[in-house]
Symmetry: C2
Subunit: 337 residues, 2 copies
């Protein structure tokens, strides 16, 4: 199936520019008019052009770590692991957030990377458009991903966490406490990790011979307001749940607020389990029982994999999931009689 690699001359002819201009775009030089560059990039993408990776490429001792946003404790923990793994090898970590208008922001980041050069990229992006993806490819450096939430081209090494097993463990914990009416607040369904957590929840209930009424599966968006609204909806059901497994700590926090408003006490009247184990989880009242994602370790492993690729080695494995762990605090108890 693999197509003949197009020559730069062919691309140049189609774009109506000189070969040297195409070469400049491929090599990331900045002295090409934006409109021309865009046109050439489009043609390169159509031709699925991949620059040859030269193993003798000059190292700059830097890798890039790209987040959607830096505005949360989640990002901090990943950075902590990435920095540690890079530091061990004397490599610096350039941190960027492509917030707000991701498409413009990603372009700006790419321009910056082209100008200064990088040895590789650790992506913690939730989504990347095909165009952005091809721009990233055009950099010709290795890429590794932490906790992907969308569908990735399968040649990108990715470190995730055992979301399914985490959903299973959280739900089993509630079943063992004696709950039978267990609801969940799922994250966005377009996000794979949300689906995996809900599937783990379903499996635990199935295995225990419990049915899952469809209306027990609420949908949030990983935010506090999302958890709040969905909890209010769940508690208005004719048979409200006695336990809620929230797909993120933030949504669990929203659940706390809704339950407080309804005059329900956690965990006496209703149990709540979160997912993530953000630093905030231990501060909640009562401290939140939750599923720990090993974010720092995930960042470390993605970085070590990337640095192996930078050194010309193959990543030992394309897709790794590190184990989640149930952290039992004070938000779960047997159901009220």
């Amino acid at each position: 199936m693999s197509r003949r690699r197009p020559t730069l001359a062919e691309v140049a002819r189609q774009a109506g520019v000189s070969v040297s201009t195409v070469s400049k775009v491929v090599n990331g030089h900045l002295d090409v008019a934006a409109e021309t560059r865009r046109q050439v990039e489009q043609l390169l993408e159509q031709h699925q052009y991949r620059p040859r990776r030269s193993p003798s490429r000059r190292r700059v001792g830097l890798i890039d770590l790209v987040f959607q946003d830096l505005d949360n404790s989640w990002a901090m923990q990943i950075l902590h692991g990435v920095e540690q793994a890079a530091h061990e090898q004397g490599v610096g970590v350039v941190v960027s957030a492509v917030r707000d208008e991701p498409s413009r922001s990603v372009r700006r980041w790419l321009d910056n990377v082209r100008a200064r050069s990088t040895d590789g990229v650790v992506l913690v992006l939730s989504e990347l458009s095909p165009e952005q993806r091809s721009q990233l490819d055009a950099l010709g450096v290795p890429v590794a991903v932490v906790d992907p939430v969308g569908d990735l081209a399968h040649d990108v090494p990715a470190v995730g966490t055992t979301n399914w097993a985490g959903g299973l463990a959280a739900t089993r914990h509630l079943i063992e406490l004696g709950h039978t009416r267990i609801a969940t607040i799922s994250g966005p369904t377009r996000v794979l990790c949300s689906r995996a957590r809900v599937d783990g929840y379903r499996s635990a209930l199935d295995a225990a011979g419990l049915t899952v009424p469809e209306e027990y599966i609420g949908h949030g968006d990983f935010t506090i307001p999302g958890g709040y609204t969905t909890t209010h909806r769940l508690m208005q059901l004719p048979e409200p749940p006695t336990a809620i497994f929230a797909g993120s700590d933030m949504m669990a926090r929203g659940a706390y607020e809704a339950l407080f408003e309804l005059g329900l006490r956690v965990p006496h009247d209703i149990s709540v389990v979160g997912f993530d184990d953000l630093p905030e989880a231990a501060w909640a009242a009562p401290p939140l029982t939750t599923v720990r994602q090993p974010l720092s370790e995930m960042g470390q492993m993605a970085t070590r994999t990337l640095l192996r690729m930078v050194n010309g080695e193959d990543p030992s494995s394309r897709r790794v999931e590190l184990a989640t762990e149930l952290v039992t605090r004070a938000s779960t108890a047997p159901p009220p009689r």
Copy 2:
């Protein structure tokens, strides 16, 4: 007072090495034996050698952001601001933590920076030894500091926060609620910001005509256990306080734990105010009244100042303090009758 700038030849003669070796050390080349480099650096330091900063120095489009540790929400907020300000100007931010053994770690970071070059440094270090300081000087790039806690050479531009005014505002708030027995938990006294917060506390009490018994000034170390132990000590006084101003949110959290153990309810039996406004503060039960440090804005301003210096401009001012703000939540109330 300024001494004659020593020639590299003089330094070379004293070190018993060639001028080109000294030049290599000054310019950060790595092909000099570690022992030799150390010796030359020492001599350069003795001579207070400062490399000339050439305005035509080639920019690399990168600045360095150096933390003591990345293990807290505090660092995240600063990074958020630094990245934003750098991003605006298309500059990348290399993030490092010089944890554990700061002296070895700082050297490693410096080696890395020498190898790849940087346009400037934003430091969020609590302390830097004179040796490290001179190594940093030898890089010959501008430096700006966020929230210094020690005594800095006064030619380094620094962005802090109004710690004194914050301590004043927190204490005034408690006085206005009717408290007269107000204790404080200070951070380490060698740290200037701790002193400023306690001085603001004293001034508020003085201005209100209240005396401050010395035993009301407890000492913690900015950690949860520090706040916990000190609170137990304060509550054993013959006249225990009805309100505590903790010099950090972490210490306030420790105070919550001690008070809970003693069966005291916040805020009905005793009021607590923190300092920092970490994301965790809003999750505490009851949500913590605290003094917000504008950490993100501090990072932004330090970065803008640094980038002005990178462009050869003078920083508009050497020392700036951004305003703190009292965030009133649910941990403060009038004293019990």
